[in-house]
């Protein structure tokens, strides 16, 4: 049977062969420590590493444009913090300081999440969830989210083209523009959702017996390596 498994070809999105659970764990690690972790001491070493980590993953996965885009965002944030912020006083200082602070804390976790979603196929994700004994009722809606990201992207692009051709891209009235974009998008997504669930139901989704999953996932040496790397970060998180 193992021979059969290896000859069946699946779509492969990840360049770095890691288990989805590892990616999930790293996402949790980065976002938790970046958002709620303390600063100072040993953490001054950990934080920059955690900020760089998602960018490194993107680079290693050949996702150049995403990596560059996020790196530029980082750069802008730091530039603001170093140049503009000291010049401001009072309320403005507070507002900009808070905004920059929130972004630098949240962005790394967000990028890691982006990496997780863009390098994991639905089947891998479902398999990972099942291995962690997450109930079907939670796994199914989450797998639908994976199916919907690209769908929304396609629909949105079509609507943007349609608006361009009508010459209503200029910001004559921002609220109207938003309405023009969102209303058709919602309509078509609702319709797609309806057809999609009809199709899935006629193929037996929701049967009470246990589903089989032919997608195989498992931990390898790389996963162990990443877990080991994460340990000092967590130790620092709890001690400092």
């Amino acid at each position: 049977m193992d021979a059969a498994v290896t000859t069946l070809k699946f779509e492969n999105k990840s360049v770095i062969p890691t288990d989805p659970r590892t990616k999930l764990f790293l996402t949790v690690t980065v976002s938790t420590i970046m958002i709620t972790g303390s600063t100072g001491g040993f953490m001054n070493l950990v934080r920059p590493c955690l900020m760089a980590c998602p960018i490194v993953f993107l680079l290693l996965s050949w996702k150049w444009s995403a990596a560059v885009r996020f790196a530029v965002t980082y750069a802008i944030l730091f530039a603001l913090e170093l140049t503009v912020l000291p010049l401001l006083t009072g309320t403005w200082n507070f507002i900009l300081g808070a905004a920059v602070g929130i972004y630098t804390h949240m962005l790394p976790g967000f990028i890691m999440g982006y990496y997780l979603v863009s390098t994991t196929t639905v089947s891998e994700f479902v398999a990972a969830m099942e291995k962690m004994h997450i109930p079907q009722k939670i796994v199914l809606p989450m797998s639908v989210v994976f199916r919907f990201f690209p769908t929304v992207k396609e629909e949105y692009a079509a609507i943007r083209d349609a608006m361009k051709m009508r010459g209503i891209t200029t910001l004559r009235s921002p609220m109207k523009m938003l309405e023009y974009r969102v209303v058709p998008l919602m309509m078509s997504i609702a319709k797609i959702g309806e057809e999609l669930s009809a199709a899935a139901l006629t193929r037996g989704l929701g049967a009470p017996q246990k589903r089989t999953n032919i997608c195989k996932i498992g931990f390898g040496p790389l996963d162990v390596f990443f877990f080991l790397l994460a340990i000092p970060c967590w130790v620092g998180f709890f001690i400092c």
Binding site: V5, F10, E11, M163, A199, T202, R203, A207, R211
Partner: protein, 487 residues
């Protein structure tokens, strides 16, 4: 054996459209049966009764029984019905659940909880049978419509139900994908499966069907053995509102364009990063005020040409000259207009009139009224565009282009999934546009539409112009070669 006993059905909260009245029908095992009739005649509803979506998913008032080997389908949960009845739907974009093709083929079997080894074996043998090993392990979003539909058929086949129900499966397919579809139905027929097909395009089914059921206003009007249906005369078929079983006999309405100058497209080069659908045209001359059918296989560059022409592709540096006046990409955004396949994407406002007004530089209500009148839309002036029928929405989109003074209209498969009557309406619209002196390009796989209204044919292949001809007697012969003989 499937048995429908005295079925009456009406959709909840809706009109009578698509409802069924006093249906009695027995479908023996192994029969390939075609359900036909005009839009809203109830053929889709009938397929939904067989796959259990009515009453388990779509709500309405249902009386009567649907029996599958003495089991009442209506009272079975959908996941039980799924073991006996597989379904293929109209829209290839909305019937895959996973994102990669291999998982998709396995999806139905996984839901039944079959053992892993068996699923893998089935996926492999199905892929081999349908000749689609090259499609395994792909991201489904990156596949063409025809390939998606192939995956849909194969995934039904992998779960191996004895009955297969298809609801307008060829609507969005080009000729070669339709040919593939026919081959897949052929395989099912050989395997002894019962196949129920609701369909408007009939020509590809001619050699497959055993029986034809013609519905009208929710009733079974005629029930023919296949041979009798195929022998219906051209006029009889037209009176019934059916598209022809034999494309060659479809009546040709000659349209010629008086030569009014030309539109020059120069330097149309474009490549997607994935090397697909690239366009490579140095120079192309289109007849002004013509109705030009753009034909070609999937990936021939039809949509790319349309997008470049409309100025939607930033990296296409082509220039269009109308009577010598050049238009660059940005200028073309207001010279050309594309009526998209899914017209819902391009209607934004709350009334038809407002829809006209946002496209105009300055308000001119008499102009709006004139255009709406011409397109038979005046009575819908205050209606919400989304509340209109599909054909009316399409006309609203055309009207927005006309009021804003566009010279070139591009229609992307305006007749996919339409019955004869609605197809003829689109043909009339195109003639109207031509009479107004505008040029239209129609990307289409619909032979019947082309011979009903087009004046010229532009045949693209591999991103270049294969041939270009006007639809005179010789041109018609070439068109027939492409559509009919190439089958």
């Amino acid at each position: 054996m499937i048995e429908l006993r005295n079925i009456n059905f009406r959709y909840a909260g809706g009109t009578d459209a698509g409802g069924l009245v006093n249906i009695d029908l027995i479908i023996p095992d192994g029969q390939v049966i075609l359900l036909c009739g005009q839009s809203g005649c109830g053929k889709t509803t009938l397929t939904r009764l067989v796959n259990g979506l009515i009453p388990n998913y779509y709500e309405g008032e249902l009386s009567g029984e649907v029996l599958l080997d003495e089991k009442n389908i209506s009272s079975l949960p959908l996941y039980e019905t799924a073991k006996y009845v597989g379904s293929v739907f109209q829209n290839p974009r909305t019937q895959f659940f996973t994102v990669d093709s291999t998982s998709e083929l396995a999806f139905g079997c996984e839901n039944q909880g079959l053992p892993e080894a068996e699923i893998i074996q089935r996926v492999k043998s199905t892929a081999k049978q349908f000749g689609m090993n090259n499609l395994l392990g792909k991201n489904i979003f990156s596949l063409s419509g025809g390939e998606k539909q192939k995956i849909a058929c194969a995934s039904v086949s992998a779960s191996n139900p004895p009955i297969i129900v298809m609801d307008e499966p060829s609507s969005n397919l080009d000729i070669s994908a339709t040919k593939d579809l026919r081959r897949m139905i052929q395989i099912w027929k050989q395997q002894g499966k019962t196949v129920i097909i609701a369909e408007h395009r009939l020509y590809y089914l001619k050699e497959l069907i055993d029986r034809v059921v013609y519905l009208k206003d929710g009733k079974i009007e005629k029930d023919y053995p296949a041979l009798d249906a195929l022998n219906l005369s051209v006029t009889q078929q037209a009176e019934m509102g059916l598209r022809p079983f034999d494309l060659g006999v479809f009546p040709v309405t000659a349209h010629t364009a008086a030569s009014k100058g030309s539109i020059q497209c120069e330097n149309f080069h474009f490549a997607y990063t994935k090397q697909r659908d690239a366009l490579d045209i140095d120079s192309l001359s289109l007849p002004k005020a013509g109705v030009i059918a753009v034909i070609g296989h999937n990936g021939a560059g039809k949509s790319t040409l349309a997008r470049c022409l409309c100025g939607l592709e930033k990296h296409c540096r082509g220039i269009v000259k109308v009577d010598g006046k050049p238009y660059n990409r940005k200028q073309r955004l207001s010279l050309c207009y594309m009526v998209m396949q899914d017209v819902n994407h391009q209607l934004f406002t709350e009334s038809t009139e407002e829809e006209m007004l946002i496209s105009m530089a300055e308000t001119a209500s008499d102009k709006v009224d004139a255009v709406l009148e011409r397109l038979d839309l005046l009575q819908f002036k205050d209606r919400h565009p989304m509340a209109l029928s599909g054909g009316q929405k399409q006309r609203v989109a055309i009207a927005t282009a006309l009021v804003s003074g566009r010279e070139i209209l591009v229609l992307d498969e305006p007749t996919s999934g339409l019955d004869l009557q609605h197809m003829k309406e689109v043909a009339e619209e195109l003639v109207t546009i031509q009479e107004m002196g505008k040029t239209s390009l129609v990307i289409t796989h619909d032979y019947e539409l082309i011979v009903s209204c087009c004046t010229h044919v532009l045949h693209l292949e591999h991103g270049t112009v294969q041939e270009q001809y006007s639809l005179d007697a010789a041109g018609l012969q070439r068109l027939r070669e492409f559509f009919i003989e190439s089958r």
